[in-house]
Amino acid sequence: MSQVKRIVIAAVCAALCIVLPMAFHSIPNAGATWLPMHIPVMISGLVAGPVAGAVTGLLGPVLSSLLTGMPAAPMVVPMTCELLTYGLVAGLLSTFVRTGIITVDLYVSLIGAMIAGRVVNGVLRALIFSPGAYSLEAWLAASFFTSLVGIVLQFAVVVPIVVSLERAGLVPPRYPEE
């Protein structure tokens, strides 16, 4: 995949980071529970690599905050760090994990990115954004319990979307047929 296409995919996924939360807007508290902004970041990383994933993770929350006011200004920096980690790690893992089975590769990359992003978010909040006021219980509640529906949604849709994109011929196949 060319560099231009990687960056354009990253930008389009960043645009989806703005559009998807607007589509989910009619569901109460959708942002914290359904995590609609996470899905385009993961897909950008899995499809176009770590740099594209990181660019999507960086631009999505920043531009969404500027254009729609959500996430709120105080949440932008921690959220950007978390999403940037998701995109970067999803891209790195999808580049290096090669089991021969596409769905296994993608699920390993997705789970690795989900864990890495939550760990980075917890560490940054504990050390920088809310020092002394952030506990392990708060991290577990915010990262796993409140967002359980969002985690299930990501397991259910991210990999099928990436496989659909491959089948539609829009991204190069992971294991080209000889």
Partner: protein, 242 residues
């Protein structure tokens, strides 16, 4: 009139000002908001922001739109700070919560700062066309190119993102309408059924978006657009046909 990217057509000094000046001004104003701590300082900054809203001819209602969307969040922030910030000299006590004057002041300070920053952000997008915003971002970031940062990549990504938002929003509405026609009344169902309806839209939305990205990148490459090309003497990227 407001476009989907947030730009509002009007003739005002803020609309005519260059995007670079507005971006730098935004950073300066945000720094002022963050540094203002006493009520007098915050009131002075708020007066400045109100003057900008009046000068911009955006209208109070539109300038406060983003802030209004966050009213419940801001109320929760105010209440949590008022009850949990301090336990010294409480006005009243309810279990672990202590309503204090210091907590109320801290909550009000955070809410006012957030409101001012939201209004400033809204003013920037309401008075600057997306294309101007992109070229402004490019100009503001250009000194960082000397440090090896990929400014051209960031500017391209910002430009494509801002331009794709209205397109994708329109497409998502069309897909929702199509689904409503097929399944009747997505927006009027219960929360879970509504959520499942939205999830069904994700695959067509992504396939359509990536298809557009594929077409755009193919068109750019066909015209010789390359990210790694050196800068020309006039400061623009040289576009070479392969």
């Amino acid at each position: 009139m407001r476009s989907m990217s947030g730009y509002m057509w009007a003739d005002s000094p803020l609309h005519r000002a260059p995007a670079v000046a507005k971006l730098v001004g935004l950073l300066f104003c945000v720094a002022l908001v963050v540094l203002a701590s006493s009520p007098l300082e915050l009131a002075a900054v708020a007066l400045g922001v109100a003057t900008l809203v009046a000068v911009s001819r955006v209208g109070w209602r539109d300038a406060a739109r983003a802030a209004w969307a966050l009213r419940w969040f801001l109320l929760v922030v105010l209440v949590l700070n008022a009850l949990l910030f301090s336990d010294v000299d409480p006005i009243f006590v309810l279990g672990p919560a202590h309503l204090t004057a210091a907590g109320l002041a801290q909550g009000a300070r955070i809410v006012v700062r957030t409101l001012l920053i939201l209004v400033l952000g809204t003013l920037l997008t309401a008075t600057t066309r997306p294309q101007e915003l992109v070229s402004g971002v490019r100009s503001v970031l250009s000194p960082l190119a000397r440090l090896g940062l990929p400014v051209e990549v960031v500017a391209l990504a910002v430009g494509v993102t801002v331009q794709f938002v209205p397109t994708l929003l329109r497409e998502s509405r069309q897909l929702m309408r199509a689904q409503e026609i097929r399944c009747s009344g997505v927006a009027t169902r219960g929360i879970m059924r509504r959520a499942v309806s939205y999830i069904r839209l994700l695959i067509p939305m992504f396939v359509s978006a990536i298809r557009r990205a594929d077409e755009l990148s193919a068109a750019m490459e066909a015209r010789g657009y390359r990210l790694s090309t050196p800068r020309g003497s006039d400061g623009r990227v040289e576009r070479k046909v392969r």
